[in-house]
């Protein structure tokens, strides 16, 4: 029974290694990267419909809600545009203030709205791959520990 589980752990270990190791580079290979950024435009107005011309704008990225990622000023029509960092998916918060009054808008930015990608590079791991790798490493470690702790037959 013990040998069976050792074999399973070994197979999983090989699988993990195959996922971690990059593919060999080929001579005369081509690396083409692309970026598809999406610009976000907000229009800030008072309840009366009057544009918040000249309002201060602070943009907060999902990974740091305390520090503005970008600051700026609305134009005469209360308009402000920015291009979020595609590597930071999540909710982007935009605060607009003028003359003692202000508000915030919360904009979801996901993989589908601002993307990066490419061919020819190693690339990142998907969420499923990371979960699988973590599970295999944990399972393999525990299996190894059990193997060395098992009682030797008298």
């Amino acid at each position: 029974m013990g040998n069976k589980w050792i074999a399973v752990a070994a197979v999983i270990g090989v699988l993990v290694l195959s996922l971690l190791l990059p593919a060999p580079a080929l001579a005369h290979g081509v690396s083409i990267q692309y970026t598809s950024d999406i610009e976000i435009t907000i229009i800030a107005k008072y309840d009366s419909g009057e544009p918040m011309a000249g309002a201060q704008v602070a943009v907060y990225a999902p990974d740091d809600p305390s520090t503005p990622w970008l600051t700026g000023v609305c134009d005469d029509e209360g308009r402000f545009s920015f291009t979020p960092d595609a590597s930071k998916p999540g909710i982007w918060d935009v605060q607009v203030r003028l003359a003692g009054h202000g508000g915030m808008v919360h904009i979801p930015v996901g993989e589908g709205t601002a993307t990066t990608g490419g061919i020819g590079g190693i690339g990142g791991y998907s969420y499923l791959q990371i979960v699988l790798m973590a599970a295999c490493v944990i399972w393999g470690s525990i299996g190894t520990a059990f193997y060395f702790r098992r009682r030797r037959p008298a």
Partner: protein
């Protein structure tokens, strides 16, 4: 057989803990609550109808102060009730003198709560209620001071008996507030805009602010708060510069 079950169960348990973020106890910090009448109250100002107002005392009684972590973020324009995954509150009612400390005073600490779960508290609710004792007993808001215009000086005491519920979104101001770090302290502020009641001489008369304000002239003529102030329309309570939904009775 038992060993085999344990061999499968233990890794699964660890996996569940890892991926659900279970660590056997949540990280906590401290949250402080402040009240702020702004420079309008501390330093005085000129109303939309030209009265120079100085406040000696502005007593406001606050109850049911609570903050929430909401996702999606609460929108005060919706008028809906706030619901959040984490709620923290101050127990009891507090009567605060927003004019305390004079012109250069800082905002006033209402209270603090320790061991609150970390995270971003992005919504706040509170009530303005009648005080049951003290200098403001029987009133939810008492404004005491002097007003001067064209050589005429009036000592005034304006009282309000209406009680209001305020439901607010995230604090809006120079810095972001309400983000409690592990073993750290964050703060939130209940801000009161008294220019919404009296108007502001430095703002155009046709501005929304002044169109909604009652000015000081009615009070110079002896009116009381209940005669001219509709608190639901004054939008007194804010979170910094962010608006709150308001209901009064």
């Amino acid at each position: 057989m038992k060993k085999k079950a344990a061999f499968i169960a233990i890794p699964l348990l660890i996996l569940v803990m890892v991926f659900t973020g279970c660590s056997g106890g949540g990280a906590t910090g401290t949250l402080e609550f402040y009240a702020n009448g702004e420079d309008f109250v501390r330093q005085g100002f000129v109303s939309k109808d030209g009265w120079s107002i100085q406040f000696d005392h502005v007593y406001i009684t606050l109850d049911g102060i609570a903050v929430y972590q909401t996702d999606p973020p609460y929108d005060p324009q919706s008028g809906a009730d706030i619901s959040g995954k984490q709620t923290v509150g101050l127990n009891g009612a507090y009567t605060i003198d927003l004019a305390e400390g004079g012109p250069d005073a800082d905002r006033l600490l209402v209270g603090s709560v320790s061991d609150v779960p970390v995270g971003h508290y992005n919504a706040l609710s509170f009530k303005m209620v009648k005080a049951t004792s003290g200098p403001a007993a029987g009133h939810s808001l008492v404004m005491i001071g002097t007003a001067e215009k064209d050589g005429q000086t009036i000592n005034f005491t304006i009282t309000v008996e209406e009680e209001c519920d305020y439901q607010c979104g995230e604090y809006v101001g120079d810095e972001r507030k309400g983000i409690v770090p592990e073993n750290g302290t964050a703060d939130l502020e209940l801000t009161f805009h008294f220019d919404h009641i009296f108007g502001d001489f430095d703002t155009p008369l046709d501005d929304e602010l002044n169109l909604g304000a009652v000015g000081f002239e009615p009070f110079a003529g002896g009116a009381q708060g209940k005669d001219v102030i509709n608190m639901a329309e004054m939008h007194l309570g804010h979170v910094g510069e962010g608006h709150c939904h308001c209901g009064c009775h």
